[in-house]
């Protein structure tokens, strides 16, 4: 091989581990897919590395940049495979985790179970001490009691401990002293402090975040150490970076100490990828739509930044028909890319309920047995079966022809389970399954757009995942989204996100104050403290000062509300991040006044009303420290030498429910052109109705739409006819 440098991304999912390798100079992409190895995910990780390097004949030493996305943190929690962890809190509040939010996760189920606390009650310890809401000491820390706890932890063979003291967000002194004493007593103890992990108020949520961190610290640290060792043996000496839930990456060393920041590492990569793909085309506002085997996920990117949320529950599961409720999972208050996930994937089951209603999901046939048409023992019809019956999938070219699909079995299953009970024919029922699945996905899209005040007519959709491109065009029609982008190899597009993001660290502090009397110098020093922390971290990660960026934000609310709206502060950007050059102007009162003005606007956008005459409170102050990483270039494809007919495979009967596809304006089967995506060249235009097939996905183009192939090989689908 030449002296080219390579970027390598490894995405460990529940079923498959994907590897993506990009050559920095040529932009060539190689991918590999191997089965995941849940018992020890590092085996699958190393297998994927070996496979992609072998396949591309790239020398391990040529890997300059290595990024990992993983669900190992979440899985260990959900499966209860975390080592013995303890919890230390203020006297009187040791039952914080047991009581949690004091609510039931479902309203009408008398057989409900409350969420099992991650730390059993006998490993929850109380220490006499007390702070007030301003951080003042009401009762000093009883250090002897802490030493007694240390002895108990040793006796119980606890390896990791979470410390969350009441009002610890306002003053970390007691928590830090507790850590010092515990460390004196047992230098090997892993300690997570709430003031370090998530210094925000509302004790149960902070404690939960801190406890999750403490539970997964040993697992993640060991896992990452194992991978680094394996990489060393394989001759890869690039620094290992890990994708976080917020879409940024951090070093393995950082990830090992604050693993709660990476619980949703995998799904985040998909949104980052969509953002990158759309960014290349100059689209900064978009919906990321990722439809796989079990679920569909919708995420929002505005102004080139994925939307993040701090209201997230780990392990929460959808509960149909239970109404709005919470407490189904363990809450965390670290930033997570905001995704709405619905039970509508290729494997989602279609069924007829007791009242004779046709339903789809949220249950899934998964990969095993999978849809009926896979012929692996599945007996219940799925979305994939319906797509097959409607002619949208090619039975002879699934996974590039690796798997043959059984159309007759799919049709028989749909007839028996759905069509006959409803008095429909199988095609009507199959179409119904797709329509209902689309309706579910539209609800998810509505959640991330109109419900949050964003007009879908101003957004671009990027659709990927094996099933995404089959449904996306129809969703865009319904949502009036003007442009749809389907990247090449939609089935592995998500892993690309690992290689197109930056180092990112989030800091926050709760200091509740009225906006009109806020002390700008106090706020400035809060920001500066957090930025200094960020700068130190980035420097340790080897980021040059000119590649550092700091973003300030304030989460505000109307005085008396208890839900905050984040507002970004101006004056950010690379200039603001230069060492020691903190312009005094970055938080002049004028800046604050401007931020408050924008808060009114944001509130109005999100909830329909702003109240400019009402007093505003500043609640949380946040800093995002970013260390920019160079993006690899993506490869370009050849321009059209011959006409698009060269890529045409022929035609087949495909069912369309939107009337304009058919000649007579009614729903029905239409003779539809089939194209081979591998043979489409830049500049080609495919007119709908059409089906575009490739190895890991199939794209459906509706009548009245056309798909244009751009220089990167993306399909750009928009209304219009071929000229």
């Amino acid at each position: 091989m030449t002296g080219n440098q390579f970027h390598l991304g490894i995405d460990v999912g529940g079923t498959f581990t994907d590897a993506v390798l990009i050559c920095e100079e040529t932009g060539r992409i190689d991918t590999a897919k191997v089965p995941s190895t849940p018992a020890d995910p590092s085996i699958g990780f190393m297998a994927a590395v070996a496979r992609v390097l072998d396949g591309s004949a790239v020398d391990p030493g040529a890997i300059a940049h290595l990024v990992h996305g993983t669900t190992v943190a979440t899985n260990s929690l959900i499966e209860g495979k975390t080592p013995k962890t303890a919890f230390v809190t203020t006297k009187g509040f040791g039952d914080m985790l047991e009581i949690a939010r004091q609510v039931r996760p479902s309203l009408y189920d008398v057989h409900f179970e409350k969420l099992r606390p991650l730390v059993p009650r006998d490993l929850c310890y109380e220490v006499p001490e007390r702070l007030d809401a301003a951080g003042g000491v009401l009762r000093s820390l009883d250090e002897d009691a802490v030493r007694e706890i240390a002895a108990a932890l040793r006796a119980q063979e606890v390896r990791s401990v979470a410390v969350c003291l009441l009002h610890g967000y306002a003053n970390p002194a007691h928590e830090e002293r507790v850590a010092e004493i515990l460390r004196e007593e047992d230098p090997d103890l892993l300690i997570s402090l709430s003031s370090g992990v998530c210094p925000e108020f509302r004790e149960y949520f902070r404690a939960s975040t801190c406890v999750i961190n403490a539970c997964i610290v040993p697992v993640v640290a060991r896992y990452l150490a194992g991978i680094e060792e394996g990489l060393g043996r394989a001759g890869l000496d690039a620094e290992l970076l890990v994708m976080q839930s917020n879409g940024g990456v951090l070093t393995a060393e950082q990830a090992a100490s604050k693993p709660v920041f990476m619980v949703e590492s995998g799904p985040a990569a998909g949104v980052v990828s969509a953002n990158f793909i759309a960014g290349q085309l100059g689209h900064a506002d978009l919906i990321s739509f990722d439809m796989g085997g079990t679920t569909a996920k919708a995420g929002l990117v505005l102004d080139g930044r994925p939307r993040v949320t701090k209201e997230y529950e780990v392990g929460a599961q959808a509960q149909p028909g239970q109404g709005m409720t919470r407490a189904a999972g363990y809450p965390i208050r670290t930033p997570v890319i905001d995704l709405v996930e619905v039970g509508a994937g290729g494997g989602s089951l279609a069924w007829v309920d007791a009242g004779g209603g046709l339903r789809v999901g949220p249950w899934s046939a998964g990969a095993d047995p999978g849809p009926i048409c896979y012929g692996k023992g599945g007996t219940e019809p799925t979305i994939t079966d319906a797509n097959l019956v409607l002619g949208r999938l090619n039975p002879d070219y699934f996974l590039g022809g690796e798997m043959e699909l059984d159309v007759d079995a799919a049709a028989a299953g749909i007839r028996e389970r759905c069509a006959e009970p409803l008095g429909l024919d199988p095609v009507e029922a199959a179409n119904g399954i797709i329509e209902i699945a689309n309706a579910t996905m539209i609800n998810a899209l509505r959640l991330v757009t109109v419900r949050r005040g964003n007009d879908p007519r101003e957004l671009t959709m990027v659709a990927f995942g094996g099933a995404g491109p089959l449904h996306a065009n129809r969703l865009c029609v319904e949502m009036q989204i003007p442009t749809l982008v389907v990247p090449p190899s939609p089935g592995t597009a998500s892993a690309l996100g690992l290689l197109v993001t930056d180092l990112r660290h989030e800091f926050s502090r709760t200091r509740v104050m009225a906006a009109d009397v806020a002390d700008a110098s106090r706020i400035r020093s809060l920001f500066e403290t957090m930025e200094e922390e960020g700068r130190r971290t980035l420097r340790r990660e080897g980021v040059a000062p000119e590649d550092m960026e700091f973003r300030r934000g304030i989460e505000m609310r109307y005085a008396g509300q208890s839900s905050e709206v984040p507002v970004a502060l101006p004056g950010e950007g690379a200039d603001a991040g230069l060492d020691g050059e903190f312009a005094e102007a970055t938080l002049a009162d004028a800046t604050l006044a401007d931020a408050v003005r924008r808060f009114h606007g944001e509130h109005e956008r999100a909830y329909g009303h702003g109240y400019p005459e009402q007093p505003v409170e500043l609640v949380n102050f946040t800093v995002t420290a970013i260390g920019r990483i160079a993006r690899p270039r993506l490869p370009k494809i050849d321009a059209n030498g011959k006409g698009v007919s060269d890529a045409r495979r022929g035609t087949r009967q495909v069912f369309f429910s939107d009337g304009n596809a058919a000649v007579d304006g009614n729903a029905g089967f239409v003779e539809t052109a089939i194209y081979d995506r591998a043979r489409l060249k830049a500049g080609h235009v495919v007119a709908g109705p059409a089906v575009i097939e490739e190895v890991d996905s199939t794209t459906l183009v509706h009548a009245g739409y056309r798909a244009t192939v751009d220089e990167f090989g993306n399909l750009l689908i928009a209304p219009g006819r071929v000229p």
Binding site: G92, F93, G94, D95, M96, E98, I99, R101, Q102, V103, S106, Y108, D109, V110, H111, E113, K114, P120, R121, D132, A133, L166, H167, Y169, F201, R202, E203, Y204, P320, G321, Q322, M324, T325, R326, A327, D353, A354, G355, G356, G357, L358, R359, L422, G432, E435, I436, A439, N443, R446, V450, R451, V512, G560, Q561, S562, S563, H603, Y607, G608, H609
Partner: protein, 586 residues
């Protein structure tokens, strides 16, 4: 979606049915999110004590976003009545676009005064199509005690009564009505803010519905709404056909009525006949000149809730679900109150009705109903002059307790029960916003009803007030009559309400309003859940785990469960346990 044979209109499309149904529910969910995010009081934002719904022009509840089961019925029942009353007074057709009706009168079948409803008519193409409405528990509506939950004889003492009045007229706020209302309440900022949030939620609902009507048209939607109502009714009747038939009775008592020490006796006879459910409360005590009465809407709510727990939770809630249900509640009784009696404890009554109804069904349906639960709302309210700001503040919260044991599982600890699912207020946020200090928030060990499946533990919350002299109220229950055990399980531990002043502890009882001095503490221990099945049949390892986790003492393990734990190590003493369990008559 209708069965093929019941199709009367050939154009009924099962797919469109599902799409429209979801879209209507989604519109109310969107209202719900708006209301929660823009609300001012902890009550709504954190405790989620509100609901939003869409009711059609015929007064049928079509879609609702539920946060609290307590609101299962209220909006659907109140809206047609409120509109009819308003139009009877002002003439038919007097409601127009941009109007908003405000109402909270329990004697007009709202719930207690704190629950304030805002109703907005929805017009499409000049035609009235229906109403969006929401209901919020306001932290204060005036009356004799902060948070408006004190025990008084008459409704007039409980707070401001809003008959059906316009708060919005053609899109304009009726300032005089708001002014009158705010003049009567303590927490003016919160009440004003929450009313704004209620208005914003309705506006969002109207916007969403307009888009739907634009798209599908009134004719299609009208026909599908008919189908949705029929569908829910049909599914509920199909479920009723599978329930055991017969008449099942039970009764129980509330501690007292809040004014006299006399317990309030509640009685129910439930009859399932295969297609209807009849709930007959004949024999319940006459109403009291006191707060512990509920109105017919609240009584009906309890019945709908209980039935909903027994059938497929997936059946959509709308008018069709109410149709197979018949409620017989004698007028003037504690479950169908007449003016001018107090009603503020109405939800306390309705909550207990749920426990009693489940008790009635315990024998015919042993695997499907839990033992007695916390069985009360357990309101705690306080207010006074905040020493930091000089402003009047008001705070309300409700405390959880033990759930009842089930045939195959223990009752969960410290959880809200039945019609209530309000979240706790974070202590840090409470201390940041109000002049109160909370010293303890914990489980109460040994408070469970022992059983093969034990009841859940109660919880304890202790408050201290510094630098001012607030008024403190508890409106609760269960201090005398415990959560019942089932099938040989023991009753749960009763609740206690204690004032600690100047080093002396005083029992307040479950309903009290007291004036505190600085440094006073109030300690509340709620009720534990009842046990299910004989305690001596409990798996000794489960008892061991409870002892190890400190939920049950060693002494109690021995006395109540007949389980001996070895001293010095975490293991069951099998020989001693066998001996204890052999001995008769524990």
């Amino acid at each position: 979606m209708p069965q093929p044979e019941s199709r009367t209109v050939s154009s009924v499309d099962p797919v469109l049915f599902e799409v429209i149904r979801n879209a209507l529910v989604e519109a109310t969910e969107e209202m719900s999110v708006t209301l929660q995010r823009t609300a001012y009081s902890t009550n709504i934002k954190t405790r989620l004590d509100y609901s939003c719904a869409f009711v059609d022009a015929d007064g049928r509840m079509i879609a609702q976003a539920f946060c609290q089961p307590a609101h299962l019925v209220t909006i659907g029942r109140l809206v047609p009545r409120a509109v009819a009353e308003y139009e009877a007074e002002h003439g038919e057709g007097t409601l127009g676009p941009g109007d908003g009706l405000l109402v909270n009168d329990p004697h007009r079948q709202a719930s207690h005064l704190n629950d304030v409803f805002l109703i907005a008519p929805f017009f499409h193409g000049g035609e009235l199509v229906g109403y969006v409405a929401n209901c919020c528990h306001h932290v204060d509506v005036g009356g004799g005690a902060p948070a408006s939950i004190g025990a008084f004889r008459e409704i007039y003492q409980e707070g401001i009564i809003l008959p059906v009045v316009k708060l919005f007229d053609g899109g304009e706020l009726v300032g005089d009505v708001l002014k009158l209302m705010l003049a009567n309440v303590r927490a003016k900022k919160e009440v004003a803010g929450d009313l704004r949030a209620q208005h914003a939620a309705n506006e969002i609902g109207l916007r969403r519905l307009s888009a739907l009507w634009e798209r599908y048209g009134a004719k299609v939607l009208g026909s599908y709404m008919d189908r949705m109502v029929e569908y829910s009714e049909r599914r509920l009747r199909a479920e009723l056909a599978a329930l055991p038939r017969g008449e099942f009775a039970a009764e129980g008592c509330l501690d007292d009525d809040g004014i006299t020490g006399e317990p309030v006796r509640l009685k129910v006879r439930i009859r399932f006949d295969g297609s209807t459910a009849r709930f007959d409360f004949t024999g319940t005590d006459p109403q009291r000149a006191a707060p512990m009465n509920c109105n017919l809407t609240q009584c009906f709510t309890a019945c709908v809730y209980v039935l909903k727990c027994l059938v497929d939770p997936d059946i959509p809630l709308n008018e069709g679900f109410y149709r197979p249900i018949e409620v017989v509640a004698p007028e003037g009784s504690a479950v169908n109150v007449r003016p001018p009696a107090g009603v503020v404890g109405g939800w306390e009554v309705a909550m207990r009705l749920c426990d009693i109804m489940f008790r009635a069904l315990a024998d015919p349906m042993p695997e499907r109903v839990p033992a007695g639960t916390k069985g009360m709302i357990c309101h705690v309210g306080f207010g006074g002059e905040d020493p930091a700001t000089g402003e009047y503040y008001c705070f309300l919260e409700t405390l959880a307790g033990g759930y009842g044991g089930r045939h195959d599982a223990d009752g969960p600890d410290a959880v809200q029960t039945h019609i209530q699912n309000t979240q706790n207020a974070p202590i840090e946020e409470t201390e940041l916003n109000y002049p109160v200090r909370i010293h303890e928030y914990s489980l109460v060990p040994d408070s469970e009803g022992a059983g093969r499946r034990r009841g859940g533990l109660a919880l304890c919350r202790e408050y201290e007030f510094v630098g001012h002299e607030p008024t403190f109220t508890t409106l609760a229950d269960r201090a005398r009559f415990p959560a019942h055990g089932l099938h040989g399980g023991d009753d749960g531990k009763v609740a206690s309400y204690t004032l600690i002043s100047g080093g002396e502890a005083r029992n307040l009882g479950s309903k009290a309003t007291v004036q505190l001095v600085t440094g006073d503490r109030v300690r509340i221990e709620t009720a534990g859940g009842g046990g299910f099945g004989p305690a001596h049949e409990r798996d000794p390892e489960a008892v061991l785990r409870d002892v190890r986790e400190g939920k049950i003492s060693r002494a109690r393990a021995r006395e109540a469960y007949g389980v001996a734990i070895r001293s010095g190590k975490w293991a069951v003493d099998l020989v001693e346990t066998r001996r204890l369990r052999r001995s008769p008559g524990r």
